[in-house]
């Protein structure tokens, strides 16, 4: 049965909404495949506004890979703004894809990529607009399989009721494998309905189907255990790891939107994973081991991507880009290639050392030296030791001195507030640090034209990290410390005007904390918030702390119990049956090391294995260069 485009019904609504172009599709390099030629059809969603969702790498990669697969098609959908939502409800227009403007409910799989938990209410909006029952148990064979991925899917329990399935880790291979299972099941005439296909997916060991697991609780509310409730379902579900990124050089054809988006550049992942061991960093824990893309593949991807897109900026992405074993040659090679042109290069995640300034200098050959960003994360030496982010004050000052000396005028420093064991004095230390940064800059340049911006947000303990047992700091304390820090910066006559201060207050972090470490009982709160009008919780103008607290209170759920309570070693955590490869004992020891007084752990890329457990559990290994190869100049056609 063919599916008609909803566009004729959508079109009359477009003149009435803000930025209508975001609903129109037709991006360069987008694909609309013939509906009837495909047997497995995916609707991929990034659960935020188009301007945020379109550049998302995960969605772009899966979109391209699935569309390359014969017999499979993939289209994209994004969260519609409340003005459009109201018009769609009034006109009876369901959630649509921007490619073929097809109704999401007509697809076989509705895949949602959660980078953050704050997209959960947008999932409910999309399901409801699509006409898909919110609760998985109420869905019929006419509904798509609702499948979550992305970093937040490493603990999908708070949205378990709304999901049919979740996958952990890299999506490339598992998306193809899932397509294959569905194709086979459909070719057999879809025997046993959705339960059968979910069972087949679960049996692979790589797809988590929440309803096949029962959660049992202790009288005090903690989890007793999580157990499969039918045969053929594994007790643990493992994450997926793509080995050899050179074999998966996506996106090859980046989507180029007409609408303005948050990242107007071509991004290439230069490696996946990070083993620096920062204890707060969920991404660094769940994406191990480090797998580098080779310098030549990176060079080819940049050349092809620029040609395909017409972008004039390239971002070299990873969790700590300066750590690529051949980053120096990559930077020099790309800077040489694009010298004198109007292509700019950027390295979003960087570390604090002089080498990084050399890289930044290479990257700014074509442009101005405006700002450099460093992330010491903790304000005091002690704090940085607790989080295992070993940057000394001396390193930092030496680095910024070099930066200012070489023509950089602005340094941005990122910090977190509310880290385990933190005291007021640790946060106030940020003010001293910022002043020393400006002082060094003035000395170095002999000018008062140097600036420093302090950016700080509340720390949220995340699953699968050593801090998964930690008590989250309450928002009153976070806000008090932020006020103290602000006052300390502003009141300084000599340096105050040279220091900018940006912060996120503590309340949204508490909601993020509830959703990050929540269990299935939190689902009722998400639903209540959504029913009360909660949308776009990642946007301060839409977020309402009070709405969340009221919904929690009405559901009889104690937010403090989920957020500011420290867990003990043997408590069953809601995500313990979901395996990121990390040895639980190692995580616990690392947590103890953080709050004890032990030496830092070093990066296992260059020092011996520190036994986090990922490689032996997942059958993976670190893949790094150097390859010894260099980038050649592009031949002029």
């Amino acid at each position: 049965m063919s599916v008609e485009s909803l566009f004729p019904r959508l079109e009359p609504l477009l003149p009435k909404v803000q930025k209508p172009i975001q609903y129109v599709g037709g991006e360069l390099n987008s694909t609309v495949k013939d509906w009837d030629d495909a047997t497995v059809r995916w609707a991929l969603m990034y659960p935020d506004a188009y301007e945020v969702g379109l550049p998302n790498q995960g969605v772009q990669i899966l979109y391209e890979i699935l569309n390359e697969l014969p017999g499979t098609l993939a289209e994209r959908t994004y969260a519609v703004w409340p003005d459009m939502e109201a018009l769609m409800r009034a006109a009876g227009v369901p959630q649509f894809t921007v490619d073929g403007h097809r109704p999401v409910r007509a697809f076989d799989v509705f895949g949602i990529s959660f980078s953050t938990e704050l997209g959960y209410t947008n999932l409910l909006t999309a399901l409801d607009l699509a006409g898909i029952p919110l609760v998985a148990a109420a869905r019929t064979d006419d509904d798509p399989l609702v499948l979550a991925g992305g970093h937040a899917a490493f603990n999908p329990e708070p949205i378990a009721d709304f999901l049919d399935a979740a996958v952990l880790g890299d999506g490339e291979q598992i998306a193809i494998a899932i397509s294959e299972v569905i194709r086979e099941w459909k070719s057999e005439g879809s025997p046993g309905g959705r339960d059968e296909v979910l069972l087949r997916l679960a049996a692979t060991g790589g797809v988590y189907v929440p309803k096949f697991y029962d959660v049992e609780y202790l009288p005090d509310g903690r989890i007793k255990r999580v157990v499969p409730n039918r045969a053929g379902v594994p007790t643990r579900v493992f994450k997926h790891t793509v080995m050899d990124l050179d074999e998966w050089p996506y996106p090859k054809k980046p989507l180029v939107p007409l609408a303005e988006t948050v990242h107007e550049r071509f991004s290439v992942e230069i490696f996946r994973g990070c083993t620096r061991g920062c204890r707060f960093c969920q991404a660094g824990m769940i994406t191990r081991p480090v797998r580098e893309r080779s310098i030549t593949t990176i060079g080819d991807m940049v050349a092809a991507g620029l040609k395909e897109s017409g972008f004039n900026e390239v971002g070299l992405l990873s969790l700590s880009s300066a750590d690529h074993s051949e980053i120096g040659d990559i930077a020099k090679g790309l800077a040489d290639r694009y010298e004198g042109g109007n292509v700019s290069l950027s390295l979003p995640s960087t570390r604090v050392d002089a080498f990084n300034i050399d890289l930044a200098n290479e990257f700014s050959r074509n442009g101005r030296r405006s700002g450099l960003t460093f992330a010491p994360e903790g304000g005091s030496e002690r704090m940085r030791k607790v989080i295992n982010k070993m940057v000394t004050e001396e390193d930092l000052i030496r680095t910024v001195r070099t930066a200012y000396g070489q023509g950089w005028r602005q340094v941005k420093l990122y910090f977190m507030c509310g880290l385990p064991t933190e005291e007021d004095v640790d946060v106030l230390g940020i003010a001293d640090l910022a002043k020393k940064v400006i002082k060094a800059g003035r000395e170095e340049t002999g000018s008062r034209d140097v600036r420093c911006t302090v950016s700080i947000g509340g720390f949220v303990p995340k699953p699968h990290t050593p801090f998964q047992w930690a008590a989250q700091c309450d928002h009153e304390t976070v806000d008090r410390r932020l006020r103290q820090l602000r006052d300390a910066l502003r009141s300084d006559k000599e340096f105050g005007r040279a220091i900018g201060f940006r912060y996120h207050d503590g309340k949204p972090s508490i909601v993020e904390g509830l959703l990050s470490r929540g269990d299935r009982r939190v689902g009722a709160v998400i639903r209540a918030v959504w029913e009360d009008g909660g949308r776009f919780d990642g946007w301060s103008e839409h977020f309402s702390y009070d709405r969340w607290m009221k919904a929690a209170a009405d559901s009889g759920l104690d937010v403090d119990w989920y957020t500011t309570r420290e867990r003990d070693e043997h408590e069953v955590l809601p995500w313990d049956h979901l395996d990121a490869g990390l040895d639980r004992e190692w995580l616990w020891q690392d947590w103890q090391a953080a709050i004890g007084d032990e030496d830092e752990i070093e990066d296992c890329r260059w020092t011996p294995c520190y036994d986090c457990g990922v490689c032996p559990t997942m059958g993976t290994e670190i893949q790094i260069g150097p390859t010894g190869r260099k980038l050649l100049p592009l031949t002029v056609v």
């Binding site: 477009l14 003149p15 209508p20 172009i21 007409l258 303005e260 620029l306 897109s309 017409g310």
Partner: protein, 252 residues
């Protein structure tokens, strides 16, 4: 910069929902993809030398948008036309390219001819409203601008305003020329079509201002959103009062 090329392009179908900023980004990227040797401004952050004249509003289609590209190496207008058209998304279509000879293109764009399709409108009601509008000396309308609500006259800039229907027939007005019908637009259900020539004045009077004028003078309120297309813009012919080809002086 060794040469300036003037480009007429269309904004069609779904692409009418692009904003002017969206179009500038799309053009810059298309120019890079097509390897057009666009000149860049000097200075701290170089910008490609592409300038735009009188962009149609978001949501309004156009057969007559204009931009000018400065290039650092002489280009053949015909090949540039083909390259840029291939490189732009379908719906942003390059119609004509000439080498600039003299003068300012923007100065030549004295007025525009607009077509406004009004689905589901009674022809008689439209004709009556148009008659009342044209017989008024001034029609004060309001528009929300960035600086707040602005009041201005929407009548004075209107050179002509006629009512037709989808079949090209006229309702109490001169017959429309059928071949001027918007290219690339699908045939919808029958509807009333307004056609107007509006002089470019300050403040600019746009078709939606004229529609608001019709509403104010005759309570004329179309049931669904109007589909507006700019058919032409250029110097206004002294005899007919209609826009003529602004590239004429460059073609010599």
């Amino acid at each position: 910069m060794v040469q300036r090329l003037r480009v007429r392009y269309a904004k069609r179908g779904r692409l009418r929902f692009t904003s002017h900023r969206d179009i500038t980004r799309a053009v810059e990227r298309a120019v890079r993809r097509a390897d057009i040797p666009v000149a860049y401004s000097a200075g701290f952050s170089p910008h490609p030398k592409i300038s735009y004249a009188g962009a149609a509003p978001t949501g309004v289609a156009s057969e007559a948008e204009y931009l000018e590209i400065g290039v650092s190496r002489a280009c053949d207008p015909l090949s540039l036309r083909a390259e840029l058209d291939t490189s732009l998304p379908s719906g942003l279509d390059v119609l004509d390219v000439v080498e600039a000879r003299s003068g300012s293109l923007a100065d030549r764009l004295e007025g525009s001819m607009w077509e406004v399709r009004l689905p589901g409108v009674e022809p008689d009601a439209a004709a009556k409203a148009v008659e009342q509008f044209l017989s008024s000396e001034r029609v004060e309308v309001e528009r929300l601008t960035k600086k707040g609500i602005r009041r201005f006259d929407a009548r004075g800039a209107v050179g002509s305003l006629t009512v037709g229907n989808d079949m090209g027939g006229a309702v109490g007005a001169p017959v429309m020329i059928d071949d001027l019908r918007t290219a690339g637009q699908e045939l919808g259900p029958p509807c009333v079509i307004l056609r107007m020539v509006v002089r470019h004045e300050i403040p600019a009077v746009r078709p939606d201002d004229v529609l608001m004028g019709l509403r104010l003078v005759a309570g004329f309120a179309p049931p669904s959103p109007p589909e507006v297309t700019r058919l032409a813009q250029g110097p206004l012919d002294a005899m007919t009062g209609e826009p003529t080809d602004p590239f004429e002086p460059d073609r010599a």
